[in-house]
């Protein structure tokens, strides 16, 4: 199969807008790589440069070790699935899937065989004679995927393929694309703005912001060890809570002081926080890493007032207002604190993160 390598790839649009800035990504054979980030972060542009739909302003793109900067899209041996399916509305599903092969002058029997095979994988065999407008969103997306499969390309590119589907279908298609990846053993690059899709599907996640890669790593790696505040806030739902806190020494211990409460840091955190004594940092804690308490305890609890309670059945989200900011906590479903009541949350300090206030990089 195939590897894809991006070396210092940049994209500058007319007028000097830098959409992608010196991106380095190495996609190994059969890997499922997800580019994720908020809209306008350059992830789609990066994908379109890999596809050849956008020129590469700077840098080198290698597919299977060959420099392909100036190779036209059709000769790069890639297939792309678009967000709004991009089916040919006047053709049947069969013709949609066969179009690329017909243009490449494949023999008729082979086209037939490949289309049937792909239709079987995607369970759309009974739809082959229908036109796209007679299909539901999920079926259309399947056809779009099928159109990519029949080409048997080196690399599959997905540009937010699930964004147009409703939430339930999205979860289902997510699993299907994952199992498709396992089955085809193909190299896939997938763009999404949805961090859940990234976490659930990817072997490797590339988090981007303003055209710059923030961090590359496996899903759990990004979740547990975010390199900066952006990644920490982007990965995970509800997002990580950030509090501005002053680092202060009290005897042998070091505390992060929010103003109305202070939290004692662990022995390990003490080592890298010592230089920050007397300065402020961003303290980060994930909603799932706090637990509920009835009483305030100095150095242990976050003290606040309940502003909103969201019971979800499996858990309860409680929005807690502290003096300066808001902390979301995931607590047990049986606990439903009343709004405006006092609440005390105990953060699991071993899992807390500290970020430099200016560089927003993690302190460790």
């Amino acid at each position: 199969m195939a590897t894809v390598q991006l070396k210092n790839i940049s994209k500058v649009y007319e007028g000097g807008v830098k959409a992608v800035d010196s991106v380095n990504i190495e996609v190994k054979d059969r890997q499922f790589v997800v580019l994720v980030g908020p809209s306008g972060c350059g992830k789609s542009t990066t994908l379109r440069m890999i596809a050849g739909l956008e020129d590469i302003t700077e840098g080198e793109l290698y597919i299977d070790g060959n420099l392909v900067n100036d190779v036209p899209p059709k000769d790069r041996d890639i297939a792309m699935v678009f967000q709004n399916y991009a089916l040919y509305p006047h053709m049947t599903v069969y013709d949609n899937m066969a179009f690329g092969l017909k243009i490449r002058k494949f023999p008729k029997e082979e086209i037939e065989q490949r289309v049937r095979e792909a239709a079987k994988i995607l369970e759309i065999e009974e739809l082959l004679d229908r036109k796209p407008k007679a299909l539901s969103g999920g079926q259309r997306q399947r056809v779009a995927v099928g159109r990519a499969i029949v080409r048997k390309p080196k690399v599959f590119l997905f540009d937010e393929p699930l964004s147009n589907l409703d939430a339930k279908l999205r979860v289902q298609m997510r699993a299907e694309i994952s199992s498709l990846h396992n089955r085809l053993k193909a190299t896939m690059i997938y763009v999404t703005h949805d961090q859940v899709e990234a976490l659930t599907m990817a072997d490797v996640i590339v988090v981007m912001k303003f055209g710059v890669i923030q961090q590359i790593g496996g899903p759990l790696d990004l979740y547990n060890n975010p390199q900066n505040k952006f990644v920490a806030g982007f990965i995970g739902s509800p997002p990580m809570n950030f509090l501005e806190a002053a680092i202060e020494a009290d005897g042998d211990d070091i505390y992060a002081n929010e103003g109305t409460f202070r939290l004692k840091v662990t022995a390990e955190q003490k080592k890298f926080l010592t230089p920050y004594i007397g300065k402020s940092v961003t303290f980060g804690i994930r909603p799932e890493d706090v637990s509920f308490s009835n009483t305030a305890k100095d150095g242990v609890t976050i003290n606040g007032t309940v502003s909103v309670v969201e019971p979800l059945g499996s858990e309860t989200h409680v929005y807690t207002s502290t003096s300066k900011s808001q902390v979301i906590g995931k607590i047990e479903p049986t606990l439903v604190p009343a709004p405006d009541s006092k609440i005390y949350l105990i953060p699991d300090m071993a899992k807390a993160k500290f970020f430099d206030l200016e560089t927003e990089q993690v302190i460790n």
């Binding site: 596809a51 050849g52 739909l53 899209p73 059709k74 890639i78 297939a79 792309m80 678009f82 967000q83 709004n84 399916y85 991009a86 089916l87 040919y88 509305p89 006047h90 179009f99 690329g100 243009i103 490449r104 159109r147 080409r151």
Partner: protein, 302 residues
């Protein structure tokens, strides 16, 4: 919707419908009169109004049509069974001429306009905006301005009086509107469709033939109807570039001649007029779906 608003809506619908019915009647009466007059014998037409046929008196005949359609000598049988010979107006020849002029004058500009619209909408080339602006600007240039210069050029290269000449003239005059209309439609085709085809390995020509043309059928059909009606009803361009000789004269020219030479023969004029009208009416009836669609083209998501 509240019941009051619904009531108001209903009342408004009634008003609209009444206006529409009145308009239909006003437009239909002359056409019905024309049709009836064209099938009445000469004496009846001259003596009584066409509406008298509804009282049951008067005969019907197809002789008028035989005469206007026939060649130099038309043979027909009158009401008493006498075989008569009279000079015809040779509208059947003109009918064929009209088709010879119209069909290529519709197909050629549509093909060129579709290709140009695709280019303007989806291909990147230097001067694209400038050229498109020029095309749009040409929409407001009356064709009468161009008649004489073009005619002089035609004289030089010997295109006057030939079908090729008038095809090219109609093509030129029809292109600005054609490009503009099709551009509006083709530019609404989602970009992804083209990009997908591009990744599939399709060259621009393949994309044009396999995707753009089939997807633009509604717009092309409506443009085709517009262009067909315009060319079919055209007298001026035909007169200037084709000349008035009888072997190439189109229906409108022949009908204009008839008005001059047979000013009193209402039975023949009405028959002639109906022969000219019948094709646009048929075109409209069979393609009215596209007619409406075309006018709406691009305004709503398909």
């Amino acid at each position: 919707m509240t019941s009051l608003a619904r009531k108001r809506q209903n009342r408004w619908n009634v008003v609209v419908n009444i206006v529409l019915i009145v308009l239909v009647i006003v437009w239909s009466i002359p056409i019905i009169g024309l049709l009836i007059s064209s099938v009445r014998p000469q004496d009846d037409v001259l003596n009584t109004g066409w509406w008298t046929v509804f009282k049951g008196d008067g005969d019907f005949t197809l002789n008028n049509y035989r005469r206007v359609l026939g060649g130099r000598q038309a043979t027909f049988t009158d009401a008493e069974g006498n075989v008569l010979r009279a000079s015809g107006d040779n509208l059947s020849q003109a009918f064929i001429n009209s088709f010879t002029v119209t069909v290529p004058s519709v197909i050629i500009p549509i093909l060129i306009a579709a290709a140009a619209a695709f280019g303007f909408a989806w291909m990147v080339f230097p001067g694209r905006k400038l050229f498109f602006t020029i095309v749009v600007a040409l929409l407001v240039v009356p064709l009468q301005i161009a008649l004489i210069p073009i005619l002089r050029d035609y004289m030089k290269i010997g295109l006057t009086g030939s079908y090729l000449g008038i095809w090219l003239a109609h093509t030129g005059f029809g292109l600005p509107l054609g490009i503009y209309l099709l551009y509006n439609y083709i530019s609404t085709i989602p970009r992804d469709v083209f990009e997908s085809a591009f990744l599939d390995g399709a060259r621009p020509m393949v994309i044009f033939v396999r995707l753009v043309l089939p997807l633009s059928v509604p717009a092309i059909a409506s443009l085709g109807i517009f262009q067909f009606l315009w060319v079919w009803n055209d007298l001026l361009v035909a007169l200037v570039f084709l000349g008035g000789t009888s072997d190439v004269a189109v229906l409108t020219q022949r009908l204009a001649n008839m008005v001059g030479s047979r000013g009193q023969d209402w039975h023949l004029l009405t028959a002639g007029a109906f022969v000219v009208m019948i094709v646009p009416i048929l075109v409209f009836f069979f393609l009215q779906r596209y007619f409406v669609q075309g006018l709406m083209a691009g305004s709503v998501k398909g």
